[in-house]
Symmetry: C2
Subunit: 358 residues, 2 copies
């Protein structure tokens, strides 16, 4: 007659990682428990983990939502070391990847549409989200191993450059999803604002989709590199004359910049029925000149990572087009230094931790 709603706590094993115990503490060796694989779980030895700016924001509690200790990392590539009894799509020895999500409600309209990132209940982040199995918070990929429900584990079709694949799990899908959703294709003129971890993937992906790609940057010295990555044109956004040459000409612009900047300057570059999509949120809410929307029926939109089916599609697309992230591989002992360099944009274009160093 009675059922219990509290799942039995699964068996646990210790794993090693790097974590922060407070907003002011550096990342340091940290030992914690992972659950033993449940029937639907895949256990993964982490080989590489990308370093996302969100890791830094969370570790330093800049979004005021961190629960310490924090073990960051949501750009994970590894090898399967064990699978639960119900797992069908993975076996021991397979390559596997995990991105920003490790669970969601699975029942709302968004989850059913494969858009778990917009889950009406809230997706479970790979780190710093409530852990329904062990209690406490989820711990991310700056660690030796991770255990994730099969549904949220991706196949890795590119076996040759695993370090370069890791950042695809966040930087890749965050730019791929809006480029696909707004139907970027051959014959279109597409802008990418900013050449960082996200922007450099945006340039590569939009190029591979066949668009004429224009990179907007505040740094004239990024011109050559942007062209190497796939930009057909580079516009220095501080140069009003250069900007004016592109008025009303873009089908789509993807803005990857979180630093405060004027969105109206980009809205005016968009043609009728085009869209400016933001994947970064400036700390201060930007102001919008409404006439810039009305006079060409333009749209301002946002986009959040991507769903699990689309993340697999992106990994397959990147393998097919031989696209990976440009990375600098570091041992985990250099992570605090890497954060400082990331703040100075001193990385081309993503740090990736070689987890063998742990």
């Amino acid at each position: 007659m009675f059922t219990t709603l509290v799942a039995a706590v699964p068996a646990k094993t210790k794993t090693a990682g790097y974590g922060a115990t407070s907003a002011s503490a550096p990342l340091a060796p940290f030992s914690f428990a992972r659950r033993e694989p449940l029937p639907q779980d895949v256990q993964i030895e982490v080989l590489y983990c990308g370093v996302c700016h969100s890791d830094l924001h969370t570790v330093r509690n800049e979004w005021n939502n961190a629960t310490f200790p924090v073990v960051p990392g949501h750009e994970i590539v590894g090898r399967v070391t064990a699978v639960g009894s119900d797992v069908k799509r993975f076996k021991v020895g397979d390559l596997a990847a995990v991105g920003c999500m490790v669970d969601s409600c699975r029942t709302c309209a968004n989850c059913k549409a494969g858009l778990e990132q917009y889950c009406d209940v809230a997706f479970v982040g790979t780190y710093n989200s409530p852990d329904k199995h062990l209690g406490g918070m989820t711990y991310g990929g700056y660690s030796k191993s991770i255990v994730v429900d099969e549904y949220f584990v991706l196949h890795v079709p590119d076996k040759t450059n695993l370090a370069g694949v890791a950042p695809l799990l966040c930087a890749g899908i965050t730019t791929y999803s809006p480029l696909r959703h707004w139907k970027v294709s051959k014959g279109q003129k597409v802008g990418i604002v900013g050449l960082g971890g996200l922007g450099h993937m945006g340039v590569k992906l939009a190029n591979a989709m066949g668009a004429h790609v224009v990179l907007f940057t505040t740094s004239p010295n990024k011109k050559e590199d942007a062209q190497r990555l796939g930009a057909h044109e580079v516009v220095v956004s501080k140069n009003q004359k250069e900007m004016d040459r592109h008025l009303g000409s873009f089908d789509f612009i993807l803005d990857t910049v979180s630093a405060p900047h004027d969105l109206n300057a980009y809205l005016t570059l968009i043609k009728r029925d085009g869209t400016l999509t933001l994947v970064g949120a400036p700390p201060q809410p930007p102001t919008i000149e409404v006439f810039n929307l009305i006079f060409k029926r333009r749209q301002l939109a946002g986009s959040l990572i991507g769903g699990i089916p689309e993340t697999q599609e992106m990994l397959d697309f990147c393998a097919k087009h031989k696209l990976t992230s440009d990375v600098e591989v570091i041992p985990i002992q250099k992570i605090n230094e890497a954060y400082e360099r990331m703040l100075r944009s001193d990385v081309k274009y993503r740090f990736v931790i070689d987890m063998a160093s742990l």
Copy 2:
């Protein structure tokens, strides 16, 4: 060997109207010239002309773009009194209507798509735009007659309530076009913000398109009237509790309010992939919380009147569904008083001038 690019000035006839000679002058009787119909022109005796808030903005030069004298009026219904030799779609005695535009470049991609309102060169407004035939500026519908290129003249399928048809030419098409463009249909939940000249048409049209219509207003006393017009629910936007009941539930919201207000309050009511479209521009650029866009892939957009083919489609749709504007018919001698009342929102919901009074 030589051609001249300056068209010969056509023959002119005098007509009577009401105009303003400066930003501080009231509207007063004003006599001016109309061209005799050129081969492609339709000459129309104005029977009714709606009073749009833009008329007031222009007459008082509140947008700093008025060239005086100004004869306003772009919600025109009348009867054809003469046609040029090339005119095929109208004959003397037909009912005819003219909206916000009387010309455009006709050659850009937008014009060719029937979206003359987004003409890359700039459409020619029915008033206060350069008049390429007579020089000076175009003069609008607060007048006995008007001469317009056949392409920009609409047929009037509803012969029974011509005064109620007049506001469809601006208030009607401005709300119809975005409702159509964002594919409002049966089964959807659609919000209309504001119950003025535009909003009351938005309610009627969204209802006729089969949507579940929610009207947002700051005035609790508008509830009953909104329901009479077709709103299924009315939300008092100052009541946070009422607003919160609708979080994340709208497919589309059309915002008709030009007064300053918080757009974020409406963005949060929209579901994943939904759109908030603005047809009014607040005097101060609004601020947008970017997370409101990112977390549900929401869109903020603008929309401007509608193209000529869509304006005809709207008039046909309204005739089929027996929709007209709720109007208060006035003689032209009361126009200055009507402007004062319009500023107090003391009109349900559009003043229309009976031009026989002139």
